[in-house]
Amino acid sequence: MKLMSILDHVASAPAAAAPRRALFQQLGRAAVAALPLGLGAALPAAAETKDTSLDALTQLLLLERLVSAFYTRALANTSLIPAAQVPDFQRILRHQTQHVALFTQALQDSGAIMPAMPTFDFSGQRNVPGNPVLFPNVLTAYDDFLALAQQLEDLSARLYRSQVFNISYDPKLYKAALSIVAVEAEHSAHVRTLRRNRGVAVKSWPSATDAAIARPAAAQVLATAATGGEDNLAQEQQAGVLVPFASLLSVLRLTFVSDPSVAEAFDEPVSTAVAQAALSLFY
């Protein structure tokens, strides 16, 4: 990412953009997050991730563009989604389109360079015909479509949770993003419910008991980004202090909750780097 160019651009931004200049208040201490070895090499040059407010908005925009494109193409294939569910995905698409507009506006207001629209490829071939197909039939077979939709919605809810505090400098965006977390979670829950109704062992919330979605190794990062670590039981209430669930939720106190259920009660975040690696599978 061309930091100097962005800063130049900001400096010459129109006065109307001033209120959004705060977006860049964190740029000064932006640090390029090192990607895990081996992962970085597989990513496009632009995929470096940093946890600044600008990077947060940019990444969320990418996510929403990607998901919008996915549903747009899915709905374009009129034989893919059963008629009864078409309105569901039209609604989801409408929300995603609204989210795209929100971040587009936020970036424009702050005078940032608008990232180019990627050419999305949902086969996982990344626009190179010779590459292996990682996500077969996702735009032609309903169950395959739903499986990918679930992973993308899970990833969306997670990524918002991870990025939301990076944009908390702007109360309006912060609140919007928090509200969107809830909407993405409702989307995810609905897709999961649709899959469950089709006989897949999956709950409406990520659970250790969910049937895994089989993917080639090269696509595994999507599963990691969508649901990796959802069996986590270690929740910190302060730095280094874990919530004592074992004693809090015990048989003897008549408050027993099984470990998988405790894990379900807390959705987990995703690191921006892992999220980026997953998003990068599609363009």
């Binding site: 048989v251 003897l252 106190r253 008549l254 027993f256 099984s258």
Partner: protein, 255 residues
Amino acid sequence: MSDNLQPRGSDDATFAQPLYTPIKRRSFFMYAGATAGASALVLAGCSKDSDPVKPNLPTGNSTTADGSISLGSGDVGVLNYAYALEQLEADFYSKVAALSNGASLLGATEFAYFQQVAKHEAIHRDFFKAALTRDAAGQVLRNLTPKYPAGTFDSKTTILATAKAFEDLGVAAYNGAGKLIKTPAYLVIAGQIVSVEARHAAYIRDLITPGSFAADDQVAAASGLDMAMTPKEVLNTAQNFITEKLSGDSIGVNA
């Protein structure tokens, strides 16, 4: 004879009987305890019987002012305390052992083991009842009515979690009550039972999380000590599973 070596509530009249009376027809704990029994035998003619129970200490199975059932005082209190816990455990396992879908719910081998544990706990319960009936007639805790949260017997998860909770609680209860016992024989009995409870606890823990038989949440890593709990702590918890209100205020307290 020293006051603190005689089981409270034992039948003092037996001291006056001829020494050739066969042991099995006597108050067995006085003899089983070796020290108390033997010293009683040897010193029967030259020591005074201990004072009767002071009236301000409740007897076992009596009703207290607030309507609770007292477990009693002194060693009888400890025995009734153990009896109450064994009643609860035995009831729980008998319900598990009776599950028609037990083998599919828990696994065939595990279900068979649970049926063994059910027998162990039933034996513990019935043993205490027999011992108390003989040694502290009139103070034997009544049959309690255990109660469980909805769904307790519906899934492997809740059955195992409840079993683990009860077994770990039982171990901690016996460990904490040992020092309240005055009669060595009772202590030996408690020791003989608590290690079996610990075996159960270890097994069930291993079923829930393999290798957690003596995990750091139960056995302190620095000292290597298992948990110990006071009767008050244990009863506060056990009360959640027993319909009758129990009072253990005088457990181990002697006149």
